[in-house]
Subunit: 336 residues, 2 copies
């Protein structure tokens, strides 16, 4: 690749370490991911910790102090080494259980609007800017729904020029299915299949027969997928078959969890596809490698293609929002 | 009533307390119900305890001794006061986790066959006879399924002369839906909605917003019923609305659990009705007063009538099985 770079750019790349421009925080319920971001939006350093917002206990009367301490533990040395960089956070840190309520943008919304609606709070480590969530208001037939953090991932992974309607799946404890057109978000819904899997695989009667497994068992997962997708309405009955097939000897103990996972994802995907236009556009899946593989496998079963997004889309999204809001100079400014 | 009794019968009734004929045990996973049963099948005394089979820990090498001690604690005084009565048990006591594996009868089966297939085990309190369960073998498209304990309740509550096909619902942690014709059991399936309710209402993110309630909230339950029944395939997504409606302020904290209960039962009932013939025959519901009310309410929403069975049907069933097997004299013998 080197021979294609102009010599000046090559020298810059070799001689100067890229200067950090900002620190991005993806601060969720049970995790805190921190990104040290350079002037092209590249991630110079990354940290993953478990100091999610639940690490702050019941209100001690000093919420700002409590969250400042968590942030200092995660990124204090970056601030010491690089001076006071702009701090931008997304996720549950902006919820009523976070350090400050950062509000929501109503659907439909352009993701380019996020940077104009930041909430700022003065912490001991500096001023923290927080990205708003997205909310869908209720109708006669549908419940309200909310997103916090995923709006930033969406901005990081979506192509603004994409003209076709796109569905993005962000799998996790609460999997989000989001419909977009370019950078415009038109609809989304939340599925609890991830949390249900956690409960069933650790605390239900099904967990008594299951053995934890390090390996993925495609045969058991696909079997579950097929049962879940064939009759998603019967889920609460079908799931009991994890026990009866195990007692019957045809589902081995170390495969039970993959069978359950397949059934939950199979039922979820089948139900979601009934509300999704039949288009050739691939679904974009953005999550851990394991969950992305499972959802892609479920969608392929229905003849739908998937594209896997970089799970660090949050970092790219935080950089774009920082550009929108003027926290960092835009590329145009740099080129000037 | 007294004036209608012949004088001899009246004297017998006044002078002699009804003689106990047998002791029936409904011995499940987490409960032990004991019945002292008279010569007409009537329950003379009843005890409800929590010494289910899980009260016996990992195999100590003396399973018979362990279970004998539990039984002695529950009914030792009955045996002392009335001599060694026949002992008949149904439920998980006959499973591989119980005192002896009591086998299964294959579907379709006549409940009159139960008494001919008892398993007997010698305990220190006397010989314990155990009722077999029922099993449905798997087919190309359906999983195997098993019942233990409900077969005895069915015998206690069903009318042998009923010519129409009947559906019996036995709600609980694992709700059983059983199809019968007279005393012939033709099909059944198990739903885990009860266990899912337990997990969601105690251990999920939904439980963080919920407040326990002593009262039943029909508005919240019916709201959940409607959401669950309208699109049972979307259950894993719809259930998240318990959180979003609560955050929205329109679902009060003390009503969240009834909303969740309604949604799970609504989805379960809607899915089960798709496999049930459209008949005018009422559904028989046999469970606790609270669960029976909830299932009846869900079925009425679909225009289906319900009949509530005596939740002590297990005692009546145990007596009939004791008659079938000759453990107690049949009525015909008494009249001889």
């Amino acid at each position: 690749m080197v021979e294609h770079l102009p010599i000046v750019a090559l020298m810059a790349k070799l001689a100067l370490p890229e200067a950090p421009q900002m620190i991005g925080l993806d601060w969720g319920t049970s995790s805190l991911r921190a990104f040290l971001i350079g002037n092209d939006g590249g991630v110079l350093a990354e940290r993953n910790g478990s100091d999610g917002i639940m690490a702050v206990g019941p209100d001690t009367g000093d919420l700002k102090g409590d969250f400042s301490r968590l942030a200092h533990a995660a990124i204090g040395d970056w601030l010491r080494d690089h001076g006071h960089l702009p701090l931008l956070a997304c996720g549950m840190i902006g919820s009523t259980q976070g350090v400050a309520e950062a509000g929501y943008l109503d659907l439909p919304t352009e993701l380019s609007a996020l940077g104009r609606h930041l909430t700022s709070v003065e912490l001991s480590i500096g001023e923290l800017h927080i990205v708003p969530g997205l909310q869908k208001t209720s109708t006669e037939t549908t419940a309200p729904d909310v997103i916090r953090g995923e709006e930033t991932q969406l901005l990081g992974l979506l192509d603004a020029e994409q003209a076709d309607a796109t569905t993005v799946i962000l799998p996790g404890t609460h999997t989000k299915w989001v419909k977009c057109q370019g950078h415009r978000v038109t609809d989304f819904s939340t599925s609890m299949s991830g949390e249900m899997f956690g409960l069933l695989s650790t605390s239900s009667i099904l967990s008594r027969l299951a053995e934890p497994a390090d390996d993925f068992h495609p045969d058991a997962f696909d079997w579950g997928l097929s049962v879940g997708a064939d009759d998603p309405a019967a889920l609460t009955a079908s799931i009991f078959s994890a026990r009866t097939w195990a007692l019957d000897g045809r589902l081995h103990a170390e495969k039970i969890n993959d069978y359950i996972s397949g059934m939950l994802i199979g039922a979820e995907v089948a139900a979601q596809l009934t509300t999704t236009a039949d288009s050739a556009a691939p679904f974009i899946v953005c999550g851990t490698a394991d969950l992305t593989m499972r959802y892609s496998r479920a969608l392929r079963r229905h003849g739908r293609q998937t594209t896997e997004a970089d799970p660090r889309a949050a970092a790219a999204g935080l950089f774009r929002i920082a550009e929108q809001s003027g926290l960092v100079p835009t590329k145009e400014n740099i080129n000037d």
